[in-house]
Amino acid sequence: MPAPIKSYVRCVDAVNRVVGRCVMWLVFVMMGVLLWSSGSRTLFDTSYIWVVETAQFVMTGYYLLGGGYSMQLDSHVRMDLLYSRWAPRTRAAADALTAGLMLFYLAVLLVGGISSTQYAIAYGQKNYSSWAPPLAPIKIVMVIGIILMLLQVVAEFFKDLAKARGETLE
């Protein structure tokens, strides 16, 4: 594999690993926000309209920004009726062949995300709720998550291609 590809893969792997390992702790933020909401309501009889929505935003960032790292961890299930019987090299070849499916889906996701974010910025779109927070920030986070996922999918494609050809990228 050419050197630029190797450094691309190394770089993307490193970025997504760092992002993913930071984002994974957000589960405590969700827990904390929701506990605080139930605590303050039961103890002090005050409730806040922004609590659940904040947790929703955190959740969205959690799974979209964590997407790239989840690809590295190979967390995504497959229908492995045939796949599980193939040799590792055949699997890598099949994955490299069908990587286009994933790229296409993520690309459409990204196009939609960018146009939706532009709309949110241009018209100051607010969420349809009583708190009505602006939607642009979370949409930007979502688009970043999709881009990170896309970069990781390309990196995985190179890894599979190398494996299918009997090389390693390290």
């Binding site: 909401s37 139930s38 964590g66 299930v77 229908m79 009726l81």
Partner: protein
């Protein structure tokens, strides 16, 4: 080309592409995006992203990472060690008693968590080695753990019923209560099956040797105390939610926090354990969320094709089926699809097509949710595709082969189908508790 034909083409191309072994979310997302663009041109390019905005506003999904976290934390906390010992001592002397005790253990785990992951992790790490060491038949034990842990999605709390509730627009509290007795019924049927089987073939599950049975009554009573902590967690989560003290998502946060406290009190919480738990939580949450994201888009395209009406026309006008025939046909298609398709994707794609029809035929959607969940449980175990199957393969010791795992589920799936039929004939089993609690 007619719309129903396109819908059929969409479905079959998804099945074909899944065979390549590419990740499920990618295949579903690709088919959805490609058909959307082909059908409606550039304007449809926003459909996949629109699904993520829909997910953003489906706040009950916040329970998903919290329940996953809680499941892993509970299995790390060692809370199940004492519980297992309790069942071991109390049920051990009977033939097949340890397997029966394992079902009991699974019922308690299920009452604390809304997925089957926790039960699988605990079953494979604690119950499985013990049972094998005591000469239990490996095929039966494997089946016991898979079937028992699948109760996690039926006995409240349940993430599958939350997802169903969002799609069918039904109150989660009622759905959870409706799951209680069907869950216990299934557990009872499992126990009945194990007892009967081991009574006929004692070699499958020998009773504990006399030496191990010498446990004093004081010790026996003391061991019952192991049940107090799970009961407390159940009350904090499901109890407070049903009483209206906490909202659904808050109750999941309370449960996640409680499981962490248990781990701290039992001195099992090291930084390593915490990091592992948090990483696995992200991993499983991402898997589910990306599948739901892609499946929502797929469902939206299906909806645009008028698939709901097409199914109604096909079932009611063309085939002229009666209401019960429709219900039975739906369950059969679920069971069939569940063997091949991802179970979460199936819920998101197929449930919106069936639920309007179920309601218009005059059936109770809460009852249908229970039937649906039991079908899901079966789908979790039936090869080639099922979550419990995956987990079992990853966690099973080497002496348990793939064939053992496949064979092990057969009797339990039959028992579950029996349970499904009982609940179809007697809907009161599901509906009595919610109508009692909420008033008819």
């Amino acid at each position: 080309m007619s719309y129903p034909l396109i819908a059929g083409l969409m479905f079959s191309s998804m099945m074909l592409l899944l065979l390549t072994g590419q990740r499920v979310f990618a295949v579903i997302g690709f088919v959805a995006a490609a058909f959307a663009l082909a059908l409606w041109g550039q304007g449809a390019s926003e459909m996949p992203f629109a699904a993520s905005i829909q997910l953003l506003n489906w706040y009950p999904l916040l329970t998903l990472p919290l329940f996953i976290y809680m499941g892993y934390m509970l299995s790390e906390s060692g809370i199940a060690d004492d519980l297992y010992r309790m069942f071991h001592v109390w049920a051990g002397p009977v033939r097949g008693g340890l397997a029966i005790g394992t079902i009991g253990l699974m019922v308690i785990i299920s009452a604390m968590n809304g997925l089957s992951v926790a039960g699988m992790a605990i079953g494979a790490s604690i119950a499985l080695p013990e049972l094998l060491r005591r000469g239990y038949d490996k095929v039966m034990v494997t089946g016991v753990i898979q079937a028992g842990s699948s109760l996690g999605i039926l006995i409240p709390p349940s993430v599958v019923l939350i997802l169903y509730g969002m799609i069918a627009r039904q109150p989660i509290g009622q759905l959870w209560l409706a799951g209680v007795f069907p869950g216990l019924l299934l557990a009872g049927l499992f126990i009945g099956y194990i007892a009967l089987r081991c009574w006929i073939q004692p070699g499958l599950g020998p009773p504990l040797p006399a030496a191990e049975r010498q446990v004093g009554w004081g010790e026996k009573i003391r061991l019952l105390g192991a049940g107090i902590l799970p009961l407390l967690i159940f009350f904090l989560m499901t109890g407070l939610f049903l009483m209206g003290a906490t909202s659904l998502v808050e109750s999941a946060a309370v449960g996640a926090a409680a499981s962490t406290v248990v781990a701290i009190l039992r001195r099992r919480l090291s930084f390593q354990v915490l990091e592992d738990t948090v990483r696995k939580t992200l991993s499983i949450s991402c898997m589910f969320m990306w599948i739901i994201l892609a499946a929502l888009c797929f469902g939206a395209v299906f909806d645009g094709l008028g698939a709901v009406n097409a199914i109604r026309l096909l079932f009611l006008d063309q085939w002229e089926l009666g209401p019960w025939q429709v219900i039975i046909l739906m369950q059969l298609t679920y069971l069939l699809m569940g063997t091949f398709l991802d179970d979460t994707a199936m819920l998101v794609i197929v449930a919106p097509l069936y639920i309007p029809l179920v309601v218009s035929l005059g059936f109770d959607p809460v009852w249908y949710g229970v039937l649906y969940t039991i079908s899901c449980q079966i789908a979790y175990m039936t090869p080639p595709f099922g979550y419990n199957l995956f987990l079992m393969r990853a966690m099973a010791p080497p002496e348990i082969s793939l064939r053992d795992i496949y064979v092990s589920i057969v009797p339990f799936v039959l028992v579950m189908i029996l349970g499904l039929c009982i609940i179809m004939v007697f809907p009161q089993i599901a509906l009595w508790l919610p109508s009692l609690y909420y008033g008819a």
